[in-house]
Symmetry: C2
Subunit: 406 residues, 2 copies
């Protein structure tokens, strides 16, 4: 008998029939003798519908009210799933974020979980009930409703699993595991049996959309074993877990790409100490996330600085960036949106040399120019022209032989 | 400067444009110097949509989960209205039933308000905010979400007004006040300037759908002045208030009718002491509300008992009634659905005689047979064949000269 937290996303509960299907899976896991907590998202499309309503009544809805509005989506799903389970003679009860004891900070629309008081969940489990928890939401100490940001239901599931010391946190999605890369681009992409937290974290933050990055961080911090599974097919998925010896043997575990990137270049920046610090601290103050940064060799006392930001933040970020640039005496700001970032990830890189150069060679063989490079202990990322994205991903998948198990 | 609780029903907030329109009315009342609390229902149609979802996933949804589901409707509206108000530079904050301090008993789907801890509302009012409260919902002491039953938003408004000792509780509806009868039936029906709580209570429980009966009881108990007003037209409405001398001069204040009635007749009931008591206590145990009861003169040691129940409860009630009938030795249960109840109401009846006979004469003049009669201090009701409803209402409105002010 295990204590399992299962999480189903919006697509998995998108219709009445799919909710019934989820209820069947939950019922089967319960009848197999497990204790089950289920975390669900809003039915797919519901959150967008609510956002459209908000934008129709207000040009600039307050974040607190946005959270009040959006948190209703998950509440509908928990009630419906609990009903469907009760209908199958499985005793189930639905809990909101508040009733689940999920306490967050006050950063509305992107709140962080401060702690979980899981007493009520534990009490219900003790009574033999399946507990259905609303994902994506919590409550502040001042009793206001908060949401955790898009993909926050993954975080709810992992955090609840951590609080309950669950044996597994099973994330059900519309894919059946974590692949070496996007199977839509590389048909012989291979499903991984397991992957380390750090690799998954890089995959997530580099654009692979299977798991939300914050939830992987959380899982790593509290050592929660996460399984990525399919809602629709009963096949083995991918276990996200602590790094072990076998993982180190694999040089590259996966190839990720991210088209949601824009490159910004500031030319003629005065090459004086403290200029970059001033620029990026101003940008950071505006809560814009800057990813890769490169600074060119100085010429005539001036230099060029390039960096990337998420394309979705560009509209909000650009005026602020221009203001920050002006404050350091630079008026030449150029935006390049037609880029993407391709990355190779693997904990084995730590103990293998020449990985970056193999990547550059593979790209060069296809005639792909590299515009920016950034590396970490377990990944190498290159910014390239966006039109080459698929070509680059295929070339890298081939070059590192990812279609074969190690 | 007054403290006013305004309540807007589902039709009044049924679309984005109507929500904006409500925001305008609220903003005007606020700018006129009043303190405003707004209670809103779910957007019209939303509750029915949620009920349909529940019935699609479950043949018999649990009441607790039904409340979890249905309470989301009002939460959507409060968030949207608060956003619309903020957009008009009116500082507004939305509160759920829980945040408004509405504590109920645990009778899910038809909970009763136990008390209101209005501290958070008062604090927000003190800060100059408009407070937008979710109608129809509360929370148990055990922290579960409850709903107050259909029309419960009226009750929320009156209860909040009572807790805050508000100067007025303004109920905005799709009619512009309380009429002497349904203007769809009697074109010269007259809008009443004021009406007593007791008369309004009878009107509400006898089928006039302007105000929910429980909310009128509550208003009477706490002496809350209630104004019934139009959401769409800026005209004077009807004040529901304590009885005063001027009201007593009017013999009949209004004519009500109710087509949602079914008559059940038990024939051959053994005429022994305690039989009726046994029958109706069994029916009461099943929480079926019995309205009028008549028992015929006994013949050969047996008698007939007829009573009415709401037609909407009939499906649930009938098996229970048949069981109760059997237990007192009666197997002959006949249902008659084609009936309706017409009633005249007025506190002036107490001091005027011959009112009932004038009613019977008016009906008889139109050839309408009276099947059952029931009277109280301030009303007389007759059950008649349903097809005569409109004719009867017009005849009674004429007979008591209700088109003229007293």
């Amino acid at each position: 008998m295990s204590l399992i937290v299962q999480k189903y996303g919006g697509t998995s509960v998108g219709t009445v029939d799919r909710i019934k299907n989820v209820a069947k899976k939950v019922a089967a896991a319960k009848k197999a003798g497990n204790e089950i907590v289920v975390v669900v998202s809003a039915m797919s499309g519901e959150t967008d519908k609510l956002i459209a309503l908000a934008n129709a009544v207000s040009t600039n809805p307050k974040d607190r009210e946005m959270d009040m509005l959006l948190s209703t989506g998950e509440r509908v799903t928990i009630a419906l799933l609990a009903m469907a389970l009760n209908d199958m003679k499985v005793d189930a009860v639905s809990f909101t974020g508040r009733q689940s004891g999920i306490i967050t900070d006050t950063a509305h629309t992107r709140a962080r979980i401060k702690n979980i008081d899981a007493g009520r969940i534990q009490e219900a489990l003790k009574k033999g009930k399946v507990v259905v928890v609303a994902g994506f939401q919590g409550i502040t100490e001042g009793s206001d409703v908060t949401t955790l940001g898009r993909g926050g239901s993954d975080l709810t599931a992992v955090a609840v699993a951590a609080a309950l010391k669950a044996d597994f946190c099973d994330i059900y999605t519309d894919v059946d595991g974590v692949y070496t890369t996007d199977p839509n681009i590389v048909p012989n992409a291979r499903k991984l049996d397991k992957i380390s937290y750090d690799e998954m974290l890089e995959m997530a933050s580099l654009g692979a959309k299977v798991l939300q990055a914050r939830s992987v961080e959380f899982a790593k911090k509290f050592n929660v074993p996460v399984r990525v599974l399919s809602s629709f097919h009963d096949v083995p998925g991918t276990l996200v877990t602590k790094e072990d010896k076998s993982m180190e043997k694999v040089v590259v575990a996966g190839v990720a790409y991210d088209k949601n990137q824009a490159k910004i270049t500031l030319s003629g920046v005065p090459d004086k100490p403290g200029v970059a610090a001033k620029l990026f601290s101003k940008i950071a103050d505006s809560k814009i996330i800057v990813d890769m940064i490169i600074q060119n060799v100085s010429k005539d006392g001036a230099t060029d600085i390039s960096f990337t930001v998420p394309k979705t933040d560009l509209k909000k970020a650009l005026p602020l960036i221009k203001k920050a640039a002006k404050s350091i005496g630079c008026n030449d700001v150029v935006v390049h949106e037609g880029i993407s970032k391709v990355s190779i990830i693997g904990v084995g890189m730590r103990s293998h040399s020449g990985v970056a150069s193999r990547m550059f060679t593979a790209l060069s063989n296809e005639g792909i120019n590299i515009m920016m490079i950034s590396t970490s202990e377990i990944k190498v990322s290159c910014v390239i022209e966006q039109k080459y994205t698929e070509l680059a991903v295929r070339a890298l998948h081939d070059a590192f032989g990812l279609e074969k198990t190690a």
